[in-house]
Symmetry: none
Subunit: 401 residues, 2 copies
């Protein structure tokens, strides 16, 4: 659904909508024919909620497509990930809570190793420690550029963020990473007229970085890629008319939410702490995005029992969320992270929507196989969920007369 | 899903994917409330496979749309039939295994009857026999054209294929078939500059055909339609990164597969023979399209029991397919051909996908009504199936970070 159509239908209401994302929620059976992580978990509270909800499974992007965290969350917020693509530089900035401004151009940097002739011999500088990264980033901060500010921030290991701030900075600049060892870093070139200054700043930064880092082998050079600016997207509030807060422990998710104009609220990585934050701010916002990370982390570790325990922890804490009395509650994941693949996957993701106005479907348990029979169906596009939540919250007008 | 997005996500893997198409698989009950052809068939092997698969029913094109064989197969290969349309001339060439070249323009010919004034009195020349067609095609092969080759091939009854081969041949040429009797064949005219030579060749061919056939009433003239060239589509290998073979008894299906760059392998029209070919070539290709025709033919004959027998024959032979140990196996039809309609239909088509990484859904039998409860849902677009198969085969990267 086109977001401008949704935006044209929004209307105010005194209702609270909560989206609880259990990251990587969907899974796969321990043995063929056996239970998935979610099915194996003891979830009396989620089951009771499912029994009075409309339920199903959603598909983040499309059949067979495994989403990254960025596209998967955008889809849950109603933004089709194929239409709303985030540049790597912007995602990197979001990932470390860097407060990117509209005139900024951000890019991902890698410390790398170059030999005496200037050719790259290791594109990741031997994966230096994050601590060493911080020391070297401190050195790089002495770099000064004409008529522009530059910010350098540690991400992790060999990865850093470089942000240029100034007037008239386009983003049509190639990566300086040559992609293969045995080649010199590439010169940054402007792909359009408006990006000439960006290319010039990138080249000056690279030259000075080479001098500053000369004696710091193996991290004696920097490669830049994914030049990008804050996307000019309609804000969440513009689309749905709700003030919105993001309660997330990991900066990446706060950063993503900030891209849509949500207010990021920090919280400990414990469901009870997050649900407490929700109750605390219950009257300050219309919409809350609450993010629980560890189901994904344990899935990526291939830890069936660990993922079961995280899900059970959320279930135990659920009364703390329900105490905030949301008018509409969506519980789902951004994507599946089955223990057996130890990675994100393409499998549809469990979802329930509880509200006074939903049409319960007879599903009594919150598990992958039971949810196939839910009223939302086994493959509802993720982008349909947020308009559905807003409709249940009385926040969407009739379309047409 | 845009094929270029799929292509951008492909990655290599040492896995085998098999698509088994039981042509016209879907059906309708013998009596209201009774079993369909597939439900009536004894299919212990397909049922056992379904029990460890993710299952459902697919829709080839869209709600209520009955597909031809071309669009239905393209959709199974992931090519949306509304975006990838095949000209009639090219489909006709595919149907008789004619090895069309990129510079060729193909069109469908009909033998017709004209009266002394040159007006068409029968657009199908009394549906002459295929044998008579062959004799007349032999006559037409004496036609020579300036600076171009022309190929004339029998299709069936009054139908023939005409292919012009030369430089600079566009396809924007109108049909010469006037569509109604009592009118003269139309002159071929070029719809654009690049098609002028094609129109000229078509007119010269028609004039000479009139002379050659003058004494062969009722087949004393030829009408041409559906001028078309090989489509410039991304190949199956470009999209998915797999080498691909087509194992089919009927030339039409080999021809279709060849349009996508698959290697056609001939085989007898018996499932065991085809599955033997599959095992023989198991290590030479990444992807196999295996086609079984007779379920469609019996459906088109309105033969309920005949179709049941064909399906049971496939089921009996299935262990021979499983012996090839595909990593991912899709079993489905290209469309439904219910015995009671004796034609292709719009009804959703049974499908199962078996792989180590699929999420089984609890469906225990391979029949239309049971499959409604499958994890793929009762109406998954056919174009989603191939990306899903490739994801299960470990052949698609994550989308976005």
């Amino acid at each position: 659904m086109d977001l401008q159509i949704i935006a044209s239908l929004k209307r105010p209401a005194d209702t609270r909508v909560v989206l609880l994302v259990i990251d990587g929620l969907g899974g796969l059976p321990r043995h063929p024919g056996d239970q998935t992580e979610l099915e194996a978990a003891q979830t009396p509270n989620l089951d009771a909620l499912a029994a009075r909800s409309v339920t199903g499974l959603h598909e983040p992007i499309g059949g067979g497509i495994t989403p990254g965290s960025g596209p998967a969350h955008l889809a849950l917020f109603g933004y089709d990930a194929l239409d709303y693509q985030i540049g790597r530089g912007v995602l990197s900035a979001a990932g470390i809570d860097f407060d990117l401004q509209p005139q900024d151009v951000a890019c991902r940097g890698n410390f790398c190793t170059v030999d005496a002739s200037g050719q790259v011999t290791d594109r990741r500088a031997g994966r230096i420690s994050t601590e060493r990264n911080r020391e070297l980033v401190d050195q790089l901060r002495q770099i000064e550029l004409p008529d522009a500010e530059v910010f350098v921030e540690t991400i992790k290991e060999h990865r850093l963020l470089v942000v240029f701030r100034g007037e008239d900075l386009g983003t049509a600049v190639n990566d300086t990473d040559p992609q293969h060892t045995g080649r010199a870093p590439l010169e940054a070139r402007a792909g359009d007229h408006g990006s000439r200054r960006t290319a010039e700043l990138a080249n000056r930064f690279s030259e000075q970085a080479r001098e500053v880092l000369a004696d710091h082998h193996p991290a004696n050079m920097v490669l830049l890629r994914g030049f990008a600016s804050l996307p000019d997207w309609p804000s969440f509030e513009h689309v749905y008319g709700t003030s919105a807060a993001a309660i997330a422990g990991y900066p990446m998710y706060r950063g993503l939410a900030r891209l849509l104009g949500m207010d990021p609220l920090t919280a400990e990585e414990d469901p009870r702490a997050k649900f407490a934050r929700l109750r605390e701010h219950r009257d300050h916002f219309d919409f809350f995005f609450v993010h629980v990370k560890k189901a994904d982390s344990t899935g990526e570790d291939g830890d069936f029992d660990g993922k079961v325990a995280v899900i059970e922890g959320v279930d135990e804490a659920l009364p703390d969320l329900l105490a905030a009395e949301p008018d509409v509650l969506l519980v789902t994941g951004d994507h599946s992270t089955p223990w057996s693949l130890a990675s994100h996957s393409w499998h549809p993701v469990p979802v329930l929507l509880a509200s006074q106005h939903c049409r319960p479907d007879g599903v009594q348990t919150f598990g992958e196989r039971a949810l196939i029979g839910g009223g939302l169906g086994p493959r509802i596009p993720a982008t349909h969920l947020m308009p559905l939540a807003m409709a249940n919250a009385g926040r969407l007008e009739k379309f047409g007369a």
